[in-house]
């Protein structure tokens, strides 16, 4: 079938990109002049012990062989062990990925639901009062540091108002987590009718999700407006207007023609948001992949950093692929070559 053929070819095109990504994560540690040996051996190690550890880590091999070894390890699912805890990195990352995805899902979902309608409305009356207001708001959204916003929210809603739980984890310590179904405490709580857990999870979700939604909505508003403006000035829409169609109909034509570039943009935004989200996780002690990665960076645990950066890049590649596939589905004009 033509469609599966397209997906297969599109997936093949990713391979050179993956090699580049692997090379970069490999170089990140090797070129940095960091010495894992010193860290592993400790201050009292003798010269022989140093040499032994070097041998064990394969650091005496030529650089290209180290890269080949690293690549084959990664392909076999071995991301190495943390320099600090000696735990396998892949296991740590796998356990945390779902925790982060829960936050990302709600954050980007709500951000898109806010951003796209606002951007469209701004584009329907360019330079009107609504457009000016959303423009300033979106620029402000670009300018607010995420972590600071999270701290202010904790101050207002936890310290001052006592509405929200303290920013620690994703469910209250007093509540036992629901049975594992999807990995999202909130959804699992609802599925298993564990209302206490669902409620506790919801209260923990609200603040970080609002932070993420605000930060993700800002660029979506700006870009949706720009995309819709371009569509509005296209011949299609001019013809629709000239044909005397009702405003409502014209607007739905604008929306349908803007959908493809908007999906593409939201897809590319997810990559950046994963970075922003890690800061939110850090502030709210969410315990997900982002917090793990930031802690690894701050502590200098470079196998963990390497694994983290690699997994993020893989995630982006998958998202880009998914965007292409979604577009091929929603856009009948898309060229499947």
């Amino acid at each position: 079938m033509k469609f599966s053929h397209f997906i297969f070819r599109r997936a093949l095109m990713v391979i050179p990109l993956l090699v580049g990504v692997l090379f970069l994560t490999f170089m990140l540690v090797r070129v940095g002049g960091l010495d894992p040996v010193g860290l592993l051996a400790g201050p009292t190690a003798t010269a022989e012990e140093f040499e032994m550890i070097r041998e064990e880590l394969g650091l005496n091999e030529p650089l290209w062989r180290q890269f080949v070894i690293y690549t084959s390890n990664v392909i076999q699912g071995d991301l190495g062990e943390s320099w600090l805890s000696n735990r396998p990195v892949l296991e740590d990352i796998g356990a945390r990925a779902i925790i982060s995805l829960e936050l990302l899902f709600w954050g980007i979902g709500i951000g898109t639901l806010i951003g796209v309608p606002l951007g469209l409305r701004a584009a329907f009356r360019p330079n009107g009062r609504f457009d000016q207001t959303t423009r300033i708001l979106s620029l402000l959204g670009f300018s607010i540091p995420t972590y600071w916003l999270g701290l202010v929210m904790l101050f207002v809603f936890f310290y001052l108002l006592r509405w929200a739980p303290p920013g620690m984890g994703r469910i209250s310590l007093m509540v036992s987590p629901p049975d594992f179904v999807t990995g999202s405490y909130f959804i699992d709580g609802i599925i298993s009718a564990n209302w206490r857990a669902a409620y506790s999870s919801l209260t923990h979700l609200i603040l970080p999700v609002i932070c993420l939604a605000i930060v993700s909505a800002a660029p979506i508003i700006k870009q949706t407006r720009a995309i819709a403006l371009e569509v509005i000035s296209s011949d299609t829409v001019r013809f629709a207007r000239a044909s005397g169609l009702r405003t409502k109909t014209v607007r739905s034509i604008v929306f349908r023609n803007s959908a493809t570039p908007i999906v593409t943009f939201v897809g590319t935004e997810i990559t950046g948001l994963v970075g922003t989200m890690s800061l939110i996780e850090y502030v709210f002690a969410w315990g997900g992949l982002g917090q793990y990665g930031l802690n690894a960076i701050v502590r200098g645990d470079f196998t963990a950093v390497q694994g983290y950066v690699l997994v993020l890049a893989l995630f982006s590649v998958i998202v880009f692929l998914a965007v292409d596939i979604i577009i091929a589905i929603i856009e009948p004009r898309a060229d499947l070559k």
Binding site: P16, L17, G20, V21, L24, L28, V29, V31, G32, G33, L34, P126, N127, R135, I136, L139, L140, F142, S143, I144, P145, Y147, W148, L151, V152, L154, F155, F158, Y159, P166, G167, A226, L229, E230, S233, T268, T271, G272, L273, V274, G275, T276, S278, L279, Y282, V283, G293, L294, I297, V298, G300, F302, V305, Y308, V309, L312, A313, S316, V317, F320
Partner: protein, 293 residues
């Protein structure tokens, strides 16, 4: 151009220009005012700081805002107001050199890639595409942490990581100019390649990149503060805004809000000013955006 007197920036002319800008783009003007405000704070911080930004008054730890300490004192007993003012130096001190480095790397790369084309161009574009799969903040953090944590390194890494933005913009302009008549005649007149690149193509392709500088400076200020917030690159007692927010983090849930709030507000204002200016700049310099409004 030929008449030197017409180009002289007398005070009246500056005034006139400013009014012209205000009419053309009120948001850009607001941005300029905010940037100038922080620029003055950064340049003449000694005049505005009531206290030494790193002197710690051990008897006045975590005091709320008062007549003596307008923004209160932090956990070390340092005056937050003075530290916020001093922090403006870091904002500009990191953003300006970082953007300059991005331009110095990105513009020539874009020029050469666009003009030469072929495999070189293809490879460069693939590399730039590849870099896009990494979240910029995480890449910046990881590279700074891996290559050594110093202020200089933060500037170098930010400048380097952001250079593809300018390279892309210049490249796409050069691609459309490459076969234009003025370039062909410059070649026919026997100009060496470097002259064609830097004297003929550069002035005609730089506008889009220049329009982006303010927005990229805003990015650099934001990211450098984020690095400092995590304690990567810039360490805590330094009066840098991100580092100050880091110091105030633990006090936010115990009620001493002033330690983290004020540096955050300063950071937002500077980044917002740069973004406002950048947004207006793009409107003014990019004719496509102007007509589409």
């Amino acid at each position: 151009m030929n008449n030197p007197s017409s180009n002289r920036w007398t005070l009246a002319r500056v005034h006139n220009r400013a009014r012209g800008l205000a009419r053309l783009s009120p948001t850009a003007t607001a941005g300029v005012i905010i940037i100038l405000f922080f620029g003055i704070l950064a340049l003449f911080s000694n005049l505005f700081m009531p206290h030494d930004p790193v002197a710690s008054y051990t008897d006045r730890i975590l005091q709320p805002p008062s007549a003596d300490h307008w923004f209160g004192t932090d956990g070390n007993g340092m005056d937050v107001f003075s530290r916020v003012i001093y922090g403006a130096k870091f904002g500009f001190g990191i953003a300006i050199p970082a953007v300059l480095i991005s331009l110095v790397i990105g513009v020539p790369v874009g020029l050469i890639a666009g003009y030469r084309g072929g495999i070189l161009d293809e490879v460069l574009m693939r590399i730039f595409d590849g870099l896009r799969v990494f979240p910029s903040i995480i890449l910046a953090l990881a590279v700074v942490a891996a290559t050594g944590q110093s202020l200089l390194n933060v500037v170098l890494v930010l400048g380097f990581l952001d250079s593809p933005v300018f390279a892309r913009l210049v490249r796409s302009e050069v691609l459309s100019l490459r076969s234009s008549i003025f370039v062909e005649s410059a070649i026919a007149a026997g100009n060496p390649t470097w002259r064609i690149l830097f004297l003929h193509l550069l002035p005609n392709s730089i506008e889009g990149a220049m329009a982006q500088t303010a927005v990229r400076a805003a990015w650099a200020v934001r990211i450098s503060a984020t690095l400092a917030f995590l304690g990567v690159g810039i360490q805590a007692p330094t009066p840098e805004w991100g580092a100050m927010i880091r110091q105030g983090t633990e006090f936010m849930i115990t009620g001493q809000w002033w330690v983290a709030i004020f540096p955050g507000v300063a950071l937002i204002f500077l980044v917002f000013g740069l973004n406002l200016f950048g947004d207006g700049l793009q409107d003014i310099l990019d004719p496509r955006r102007r007509t589409s409004k």
